[in-house]
């Protein structure tokens, strides 16, 4: 029994765990889920008692809220929760099992708690790894050509499983391909289940993108040029102003918050994301605005456990700050956050008033980065299109006129309500933080003389739990 985690296992279970546990490395588990799920799973097994039992076929890992049956590969693990994918229970079970593998006891926790700056993939790749990569990429390309030859319509559950396997077995350097494979598997599942979420063009484009990425990667073999730049780098002590927070929900089922932070030395925008990891738990409010508001108030960020609500609308220093090439700030426990006074519209830096120039299109980094700017908002004209369920509004002020739109959904319901309330009520000292992505501009927060209002959460009263 391991002392760090509260894991109870008899000799047979321990032997089984030792046999299969070595394969569950942090890298593999993060690639199969995401960093947030991994950290949540790690916290789960630290906080509760986990029992390991051997049955005829499986190693059963009993967690307080689920039971995971394991027999080897992660893809073949079964969880008693309703999730059809690799849920946090499976990840927690894999971590529990991995602590029994030789020499692994100490590194699991260390790795999870620190976003260690890893050597680039280029440095790490040996000829054997390159061969394994080539084999993987070849298999990916053959699978995609096979699917395209017979057509997506002829795909079966088996194809979806092959794609899931390719997603799970993706080497770290090809994690983007892994993620795309997982999405493609979901596309096929949606088609087989005749769900409205299936889109012929999106599925086709995704399969072609997987092929193209694998082919380009094969040509760049040994350099890993296409996929570098995802590691966090220590950027030292930085001063920020948190200008607003908004919720997001991804197609793959994750939800979370993005805090928009303006860095006052280099004068550029950074973002800080916090994902909700219990979205697969299927509770009544999973991923709802209420649960995201709860996440906003949770004290779980950086070394000194700050909440996003704490930092919103304030000046703050991040000591030992880490950020990646997409200007995303890490939630590393090695970073300390020190907040200072609240800001109002008179404290806004001039440099925040301009959108950064749009980045050149790059097929292989297709996810466009949102751009942010603060604009004066003396007047707002709003019109809600009931047919399209979109609120169209123009923000007019000293900086010009900005045409914005916000599509109505559960997540944006309070934002739509707030903007409609602002309409036709002129105000001199009022500013808005805007987000622009894919040609659509939308308001994130109101900044007035008293402080910042995150319009997606209204004033919070409706969401108080």
């Amino acid at each position: 029994m391991d002392r760090k985690y509260n894991i109870i296992a008899d000799n047979a279970a321990e032997a089984y765990a030792r046999r299969i546990g070595g394969q569950f490395t942090e890298e593999k588990l993060v690639a199969a889920s995401n960093k947030g799920t991994y950290k949540r799973a790690l916290k789960d097994i630290e906080a509760c008692e986990t029992r390991l039992e051997v049955t005829e076929e499986y190693l059963k890992v009993k967690l307080p809220d689920a039971e995971v049956s394991m027999c080897g590969e992660l893809a073949s693990c079964k969880c008693s929760c309703p999730s059809k994918t690799i849920c946090r229970h499976i990840i927690a079970a894999a971590i529990a099992v991995s602590v029994f593998s030789d020499g692994n006891e100490d590194c699991v926790e260390e790795n999870a708690k620190a976003d260690i700056q890893k050597p680039s993939a280029q440095d790490k790749q040996t000829s054997e790894e390159i061969k394994a990569d080539e084999k993987y990429l070849d298999e990916v390309m053959k699978t995609m050509t096979g699917i395209l030859a017979k057509g997506i319509i002829s795909c079966t559950k088996n194809d979806s499983e092959i794609l899931s396997r390719l997603s799970l077995t993706a080497p770290t350097v090809h994690r983007k391909i892994g993620r795309l494979c997982r999405s493609a598997a979901e596309d096929i599942e949606l088609m087989l289940e005749k769900k409205a979420g299936f889109n012929q063009l999106t599925a086709a484009m995704r399969i072609c993108r997987i092929y193209n990425t694998a082919e380009a990667s094969l040509k760049e073999q040994g350099k890993a040029l296409l996929f570098s730049g995802n590691e966090y780098e220590n950027i030292g002590k930085r001063e920020f102003i948190c200008l607003g927070v908004y919720p997001y929900r991804s197609k793959s089922g994750f939800a979370g918050l993005t805090a928009v932070m303006f860095e006052t030395e280099q004068n550029k925008f950074y973002t800080y994301n916090s994902a909700i990891s219990d979205i697969y738990s299927k509770t009544s409010d999973s991923g709802s605005l209420k649960s995201l508001y709860k996440l906003m108030r949770a004290h779980s960020h950086w070394q000194n456990k700050m909440s996003i609500e704490n930092i919103s609308g304030r000046k703050l220093s991040l000591i030992g700050c880490k950020a990646d090439s997409n200007d995303k700030i890490s939630s590393s426990s090695q970073t300390t956050c020190v907040t200072s006074n609240k800001i109002g519209c008179n404290d806004l830096p001039e440099e925040a008033f301009e959108f950064a120039p749009e980045e050149e299109y790059d097929y292989f980094s297709y996810q466009k980065k949102p751009r942010y700017a603060v604009v004066s908002a003396e007047n707002i004209d709003a019109y809600f299109d009931k047919g399209e369920q979109i609120l169209y509004y123009s923000i007019i002020g000293k900086d010009g006129k900005f045409n914005c739109e916000t599509a109505y959904s559960e997540l944006t319901s309070l934002a739509v309500k707030s903007i409609e309330a602002y309409a036709d009520k002129p105000a001199a000292d009022r500013y808005f933080l805007l987000k622009r992505m894919g040609g659509i501009t939308e308001a994130i927060a109101e900044i007035n003389s008293e402080g910042i209002v995150n319009i997606y959460f209204g004033n919070g009263k409706e969401l108080t739990i």
């Binding site: 395209l148 997506i152 063009l201 299109y361």
Partner: protein, 84 residues
């Protein structure tokens, strides 16, 4: 240009959905139109890809057609991305 992009997207979606094993004649007709449009706009790469795809379909070379389809998809996404 918008029309060409949506035409190419329709073609990609149709071929990927029903498979490069047997590309329907109506899709081939649209492919021909796309090829002509590319020619009009002096987009030689697009024209070449459309023509290669038609060639693969007539030769019943489904694997090669799948590869060309992926290239055409990349070309279309880049056209659309650069236009945004």
């Amino acid at each position: 240009m918008d029309k060409l992009i949506s035409l190419l997207e329709e073609i990609i979606a149709d071929i990927a959905f029903s498979g490069t094993n047997e590309i329907r004649t109506d899709v081939l007709r649209r492919l021909n139109t796309a090829e002509k449009l590319c020619n009009e706009f002096n987009m030689s790469a697009g024209e070449k890809l459309c023509s290669r795809l038609t060639g693969c379909a007539s030769e019943h070379n489904s694997e090669e057609a799948a590869t060309v389809l992926c290239r055409l998809c990349c070309y279309t996404e880049c056209l659309s991305g650069l236009q945004d």
